[in-house]
């Protein structure tokens, strides 16, 4: 691996771990896990989790196969790619590992 690529890889890992580089001002409330409710981002898996507020977070979620977005929009970073979602949408997705979430 070239030095340039190493630097880029480390920078990307830091970005994901510390909050993805999104072009928005820091929100008053950062993204966090919440009790599941219809207005939150619901990531359905054998161990369903739900999220709200703007920001980015690294996660370790296995076998996520369905989402409902509530009043949230953003990106689900999974093993099969970056899944963009809009508000008030719900859909099945190929079961996959999710490693980060961004809510705008």
């Amino acid at each position: 691996m070239s030095i340039k690529r190493k630097i880029i890889s480390v920078a990307a890992a830091v970005a994901i771990a510390g909050g993805m580089a999104v072009a928005v001002a820091a929100p008053a409330q950062a993204i966090n896990r919440m009790a599941c409710a219809s207005h939150n981002l619901n990531l359905v898996s054998p161990a369903t989790t739900c999220w709200g507020n703007a920001g980015s977070v690294s996660v370790t979620l296995y076998d996520v196969y369905y989402y409902s977005s509530g009043n949230n929009e953003g990106i689900i970073y999974g093993g099969l790619g970056n899944t963009y979602f809009y508000r008030w949408g719900a859909a099945s997705m190929p079961s996959q590992y999710v490693f980060a979430i961004t809510i705008w």
């Binding site: 970056n82 899944t83 963009y84 949408g89 859909a91």
Partner: protein
């Protein structure tokens, strides 16, 4: 029936009350942060009975579907060149054009059909689809590259073409959503009363959208709720009042972010120019 004749007395009184300036001294915290700002003065209340009329000053700065597609095409070219120059054997493609167009068009259309402030206003489809979309593409999954290639070539200078379909791509995530504005709150109260009169109990126009988002196809109850929802929005002019208030917040935002908005446009132009140079 004309709106003026459809407005019931309570609704009409509400509009008069709003017009009379119940905003003196009121403060609002539109982004739920701790800093409160005075409610900006508003112009003449607009009457909005169809989504196409729910225009806003900030629209001028947002890309339409074609504009976002041009960014996607430019991004595709630039990623391909980056991969080639970096010696990667991987290739990158967005999903099919139909999928991308379907997703982006939904986001763009939602600017006038679904709002964080006034909720649902798809007048044309409420009676048949309820809260569902006519062409729901759900989500858009952009395939991943390998870790190194992705880090080097996918996020070119932080530029994400799909995000430009969303108003959150704007500087500081766009104008605030004045959910606590007293004029909007009064209009929502009138809408909630209208919904109650129709047998549906909601205090917030986002509630039915949240409740029914996963119920597709729509049940008869969902359709009845959505129908009453848009009828009540027209009867109380909730959307008209809300966009009138948003006009004022948009203008303040635009004035306060003129330099950043210029940079936003320049960034888009520069990105398109970089892609065009590769064609």
């Amino acid at each position: 029936m004309r709106l003026s004749t459809r407005l019931g007395l309570p609704s009409a009184l509400l509009v008069v009350a709003v017009l009379c300036g119940c905003t003196d001294g009121a403060e609002v915290s539109p982004n739920n942060d701790e800093q409160s700002i005075p409610e900006p003065p508003i112009g003449e209340i607009r009457v909005v009975t169809e989504p196409a009329a729910a225009t806003r000053p900030i629209d001028e700065y947002l890309l339409d579907t074609q504009g976002v597609l041009e960014l996607v095409q430019s991004h595709t070219l630039q990623v391909a060149r980056c991969l080639k120059d970096g010696g990667y054997s991987e290739t990158f493609e967005y999903p099919s054009q139909d999928e991308v167009v379907g997703f982006v068009a939904t986001v763009v259309d939602d600017r006038r059909l679904r709002s964080l402030l006034w909720g649902f206003f798809d007048v044309e489809n409420a009676r048949t689809l309820g809260y569902q979309r006519e062409t729901a593409s759900g989500a858009l999954t952009v395939p991943a590259l390998g870790k190194e290639a992705s880090a080097e070539c996918m996020n070119l200078e932080g530029f994400d073409p799909i995000k430009f379909a969303f108003d959150k791509s704007l500087p500081d995530a766009g104008p605030p959503v004045p959910v606590e504005d007293s004029r909007v709150r009064a209009a929502i109260t009138a809408w909630a009363q209208c919904m109650s009169d129709h047998g549906f109990n909601y205090t917030d126009p986002l509630e039915p959208l949240n409740e029914f988002q996963s119920e597709s196809p729509a049940s008869s109850r969902q359709i009845a709720t959505a129908t009453a929802d848009v009828d009540c929005k027209i009867d109380t002019n909730l959307v008209g009042i809300a966009v009138t208030v948003e006009d004022a917040y948009d203008q303040v935002y635009i004035e306060q972010h003129s330099a950043e908005l210029e940079e936003y446009r320049t960034r888009i132009d520069d990105f398109l120019r970089a892609g065009a140079a590769l064609e």
